[in-house]
């Protein structure tokens, strides 16, 4: 949100300084995005390590199956944990989109926003 601040200067000119005010809601949303991504990454890291995935393969854009070697049961565990952790229900039509940490985070954010 941009605010205008009018300042009286000695020359009686009015300076307007506009600045962004970060609203509590926006601050919360920005924090949640980072937290969501971080939480999902932690979850994937734990599961992938159990499946002997190389740590270097665990990146936010890496494909769960093609790059990390996670099988579908592992993906089901990811889905179940995300829904519980973030109190969100993800429609089955979105299941094919859950292919990376970033994609998962986007999906969770979308349905968290809808539920809010």
């Amino acid at each position: 949100m941009r605010r205008q601040l009018y300042v009286d200067c000695p020359e009686k000119r009015t300076l307007s300084i506009s600045f962004h005010v970060s609203s509590p809601a926006r601050r919360s949303r920005v924090m949640e995005t980072a937290e969501i991504r971080s939480t999902i990454k932690d979850l994937i890291t734990e599961i992938a390590e159990d499946m002997d995935t190389e740590a270097s393969a665990i990146t936010e854009d890496a494909h769960f199956t093609e790059d990390m070697g996670l099988d579908s049961m592992a993906l089901l565990e990811v889905l179940a944990t995300m829904e519980k952790k973030f109190s969100v229900s993800i429609p089955e039509s979105e299941f094919p989109n859950l292919t990376s940490i970033n994609k998962c985070a986007e999906t969770v954010e979308k349905y968290m926003a809808q539920s809010n």
């Binding site: 199956t65 579908s72 049961m73 993906l75 089901l76 565990e77």
Partner: protein, 336 residues
């Protein structure tokens, strides 16, 4: 090809095989000498029973003739592989079941019937197959129970063992306006295409409800997620539970520890209260009819696999000859 494939073994059309046991090899050595791994053994029997010439002759064949043909071929194969009698007998002994020659022969007869049920849809058109099922299969009560669960807003898991006429579970339920998602494995791309084509034809006839396949193990697919999605859509999801998979657990069966469950407990843990589950067994009646026995399962996280196996044990105790796995290697936890 095959519209409804059992998850146990997908048929492979190939040359007939049969290897006679040399007379100088002692019987007790036969099981060791000529006991290939389970997959190879199953595929040998499958290829022998579903030879190219037989498959080519199916269209228009009377079901009664097919039945007799499969019985004769199966007896021929087992006569040529006496070690296979030994395997059936050993499995029955390990489970404390009657392992007399009569009982072993009954198991072998029902192996033949399994292949009959796999092939009989190929003998006739869609309409005739619908009539065949209507005349012989009693699944009305089972279908009503499943429909009631769906009406309560639940997806439904129908978990079956490799028992009785498992091949008929999907098409029988599909005659009762239930949308079916069948989780199974196709061994070749050709079988996959054929099965999908048949399912489309069945649905387009208006005589069967839609049948979709969730292909386990197919590259690029995610079977567990697809199965979860089917339950979320309130479909009727059919899967077998008595196979050893990476996600099987130890479970007791006739007092022995076996690997089982195929991860269905984890699927149901995810589905939670949004899904109902039943153990289903298509029992062959004495007079060439079939009855779909359905038992509702409690879907709490604890004991789900145990429940399925308790039902399997119940029906296998009553009809041991119909448990298909008695002719294969059982996934015992301890192989002693």
């Amino acid at each position: 090809m095959h519209p409804f494939l059992s998850p146990a073994a997908c048929p492979v059309a190939a040359r007939p095989e049969g290897r006679a046991v040399p007379p100088h090899v002692p019987r007790e050595q036969v099981a060791t000498v000529s006991a290939p791994p389970r997959t190879t053994r199953t595929m040998q029997l499958s290829r022998f029973l579903q030879s190219d010439d037989l498959l080519a002759s199916l269209k228009g064949m009377e079901p009664g003739r097919l039945r007799e043909t499969m019985l004769a071929r199966t007896r021929q194969w087992y006569d040529a592989h006496p070690g296979e009698h030994d395997l059936v007998r050993a499995n029955m002994q390990r489970f404390g079941l009657d392992s007399s020659e009569r009982a072993v022969d009954a198991v072998i007869e029902h192996v033949a019937l399994h292949y009959f049920e796999k092939l009989v849809p190929l003998c006739m058109g869609t309409g005739d197959f619908r009539e065949f099922l209507d005349a012989r299969v009693d699944a009305a009560d089972a279908a009503a129970a499943i429909a009631a669960a769906r009406k309560n807003g639940k997806g439904v898991l129908v978990a079956s063992g490799h028992f009785g006429a498992v091949e008929f579970v999907v098409p029988a339920l599909a005659t009762h306006n239930l949308p079916i998602a069948a989780a199974l494995r196709f061994k070749t791309e050709e079988f996959s295409r054929s099965a999908h084509a048949h399912a489309r034809a069945f649905a387009e006839s208006g005589l069967f409800s839609p049948i979709s396949f969730i292909e386990v193990g197919r590259p690029g697919t995610h079977a567990a997620l697809d199965m979860a999605a089917a339950l979320r859509r309130k479909d009727v999801l059919l899967s077998v539970f008595d196979e050893k998979t990476d996600y099987s657990v130890e479970v007791s069966l006739f007092g022995r520890k076996v690997w089982g469950g195929a991860g269905l407990d984890k699927l149901m843990a995810f589905a939670g209260a949004d899904a109902a589950a039943f153990a289903a067994f298509m029992i062959r009646d004495a007079g060439e009819g079939y009855r779909l026995s359905l038992s509702e399962l409690e879907t709490g996280p604890a004991g789900f696999v145990r429940q399925m196996y308790a039902h399997l044990e119940r029906v296998a105790r009553a009809h041991p000859e119909q448990w298909y796995f008695l002719h294969e290697d059982i996934p015992f936890v301890e192989q002693a």
